[in-house]
């Protein structure tokens, strides 16, 4: 999606940019400078200042913030964020791929309806949807009540499942938020599949499993890669859902940065964490094989 457009410049019948063109471009340039470049530079500068907590900042240069960021606790937080993002991505992939595959090869009217169905949650506020999980996962919630009425609880499980405010709840929340982001790009790839190639594979004696593995999956790989980059990368830094579902116990990097900026008030340290996250982010973005639409 957007990822592949970024480094692409459309082939235009462009004239060389004259002074007037530059003038017309200047509002855009000003906007970009003020609200994209400048904030990042300020963030970088802040990360080298000294914070004394509660919002006070002293203008003394220091490496302390970065030193602390590489300290055990924060490395753990980064690692955990990556871990959760990875789990979320894998789960989204496993759940989403078959769905995308089915929709992509469905006939036209069913396909459009299913697409619409997938997109609606995509465009409604993720907070509203995440909050609804409380109703399901709570100790007195629907899932536990269901298990109890089916007598699963006294027989197989000794007590009610404690799901809310746990890492499991956080993962559920993340998967729920990002699933459509995985389904849509894969669908895009599946839809472009050449049916005759699959027929050919079947004619050559390949069973459905082999046809999938050898033909379909490689051909839809660009969609999968796009989906992965749309899920993995943003979910590293998610914070609202994780703090809601995890009861403020599961600390991820997004929660930590928010805490530093708005609660603990150690702005320079928060800025350092932010810069490191940005670096991590840019690296995974650049390294990620995005494949090319062929």
């Amino acid at each position: 999606m957007a990822a592949s457009v970024v480094l692409q410049v459309s082939e235009a019948p462009g004239r060389r940019a004259g002074a007037k063109a530059w003038l017309l471009l200047s509002p855009l340039l000003a906007w970009l400078f003020l609200f994209v470049v400048a904030p990042t530079i300020i963030l970088l500068c802040y990360s080298f200042l000294t914070g004394t907590g509660l919002g006070e900042v002293q203008a003394t240069f220091t490496w302390e913030n970065y030193r602390r960021a590489f300290h055990g606790a924060y490395v753990r937080i980064f690692a955990r964020s990556l871990e959760y993002a990875a789990i979320t991505t894998i789960l989204c992939g496993l759940i989403g791929y078959p769905v995308a595959h089915y929709i992509g090869r469905a006939e036209s009217r069913l396909r459009n309806r299913l697409l619409l169905l997938v997109m609606i949650p995509f465009l409604t506020s993720f907070l509203i949807r995440a909050y609804a999980w409380f109703i399901i996962l709570g100790d007195q919630g629907l899932l536990n009540s269901l298990l109890e009425s089916l007598h699963v609880i006294p027989t197989f499980l000794s007590h009610r499942l404690e799901l809310i405010y746990t890492p499991t709840a956080v993962i559920i929340g993340l998967v729920y938020t990002y699933l459509p982001f995985m389904i849509l790009p894969i669908y895009g790839s599946v839809e472009k599949l050449d049916e005759s190639l699959i027929e050919a594979a079947a004619d050559l004696g390949a069973g459905p499993a082999r046809a999938f593995w050898r033909v379909i999956l490689p051909l839809t790989w660009p969609g999968v890669a796009a989906g992965v980059s749309l899920v993995f990368i943003p979910s590293i830094a998610m914070f609202a859902v994780t703090s809601l579902m995890g009861g403020a116990k599961v600390r991820l990097i997004g929660d930590e940065i928010e805490d530093q900026f708005l609660s603990s008030g150690n702005l320079p340290f928060g800025a350092a964490l932010g810069i490191l996250l940005l670096a991590l982010f840019l690296i995974s973005f650049l390294l990620f094989p995005r494949g090319r639409e062929e």
Binding site: G53, Y74, R76, I77, K249, L262
Partner: protein, 343 residues
């Protein structure tokens, strides 16, 4: 084509329409206060009487409030700091002195809440509500006696505990158990508190200062360390919720209304403070958030049941009070971040 454009324009107008019905406010008051602490009814009553629109922004810890104030990009007219936060703000010259000629109702306060040590001469603050932090136990679920923090943070209550999401508070529990004065926040003392906290943190199910009573009310937790108003609310709905002041010690807090420097609507703020101090208004606050009410006139309006609520009006001996610990805040923040990451 033209149809599309005109449809869009119409849609656009339709969307802006809802904003038109709002009458332009004559004046407004930017209130920055604790969540679950000022009833909407009180705010609405103030707006009805004075025509001043109140923008109520909420926070869940003093540190969050002070940090936001420090950033200089927000202008608030009224904040609600606890006693140590008032100290910090006075020290950093971030409060405006109050014009008490606009707050005659300050005479309604009980004399013991006038001219308190954190604001000598009572120039910057007016006490709003006071209370204690303590233990609440659902005695329907827990039959063992709970007398203090050590009884709460036991393995057998793992994941059944709710706790306020306040780093300073949590550290003070450990310091109380170790008999270290709660304001001596030094690296050495924190190092001593560390193993205890490391043991306690995984036992807690929910950290939440906005609504600590919900997990307890909904049965997700059976006991917890909460602000007394939450415990009192729980007690009102179900007398099985007992409030206990920990035997190792606890502290008393006094929350105040103050006007930060640079406030644009100082007079409106002072009007609001005066309004809050009216006995009948203060009573409404006590009804909704049953903390300890410092307003002597309001107390006369409370029911015997309310005054007998052991969480609202506990029998207190001399309790400690938090003081501004300056750089200690940063140390606490670092310690707690580290412990939370260990989950």
């Amino acid at each position: 084509m033209k149809r599309i454009v005109s449809t869009c324009v119409l849609l656009g107008l339709l969307l802006v329409l809802p904003s038109c019905h709002r009458k332009p406010a004559a004046e407004s008051l930017n209130l920055f206060a604790w969540s679950q602490y000022i009833p909407q009814e009180v705010i609405d009553g103030f707006t009805r009487e004075t025509g001043i629109k109140v923008n109520y922004e909420q926070y869940d810890s003093n540190e969050a409030m002070i940090t936001k104030l420090s950033q200089g990009s927000s202008r608030y007219d009224l904040v609600q700091p606890s006693e140590y936060a008032v100290e910090n703000l006075i020290h950093r010259n971030m409060l405006e002195p109050l014009d008490f000629s606009l707050i005659p109702n300050v005479k309604n306060l009980d004399p013991q809440f006038r001219d308190l040590p954190y604001d000598p001469g009572q120039k910057y603050s007016v006490p709003y509500m006071t209370g204690t932090t303590g233990i609440v136990v659902n005695t329907d679920k827990i039959k063992d006696p709970i007398r203090g923090y050590r009884d709460v943070f036991q393995e057998k209550y793992k994941k059944r505990i709710a706790c306020v999401d306040d780093n300073r508070e949590i550290v003070s529990f450990a310091l109380d158990v170790l008999k270290i004065p709660i304001n001596e926040v030094t690296p050495e003392n924190l190092a001593k508190a560390r193993p205890l906290l490391a043991q306690w943190m995984p036992l807690v199910r929910v950290f939440n200062s906005d609504d600590t009573k919900r997990p307890l009310a909904e049965g997700d937790c059976d006991l917890g360390v909460v602000f007394c108003g939450d415990a009192a609310s729980l007690y009102e709905t179900n007398h099985a919720f007992k409030y206990i002041l920990p035997e190792e010690g606890t502290h008393q807090f006094i929350d105040n209304l103050c006007v930060p420097k640079g406030a644009e609507h100082k007079e409106a703020a002072e009007k609001f403070i005066n309004y809050i101090l009216r006995p009948e208004v203060s009573k409404i606050i006590s009804d909704k958030f049953p903390y300890t009410n410092p307003n002597a006139e309001a107390r006369k309006l409370l029911t015997p049941a309310q005054l007998a609520n052991p969480a609202s009006y506990p029998k207190t001996d001399h309790l400690e009070v938090f003081h501004d610990i300056g750089p200690g805040t940063k140390l606490i923040g670092e310690l707690m971040s580290e412990l939370r990451s260990k989950e």
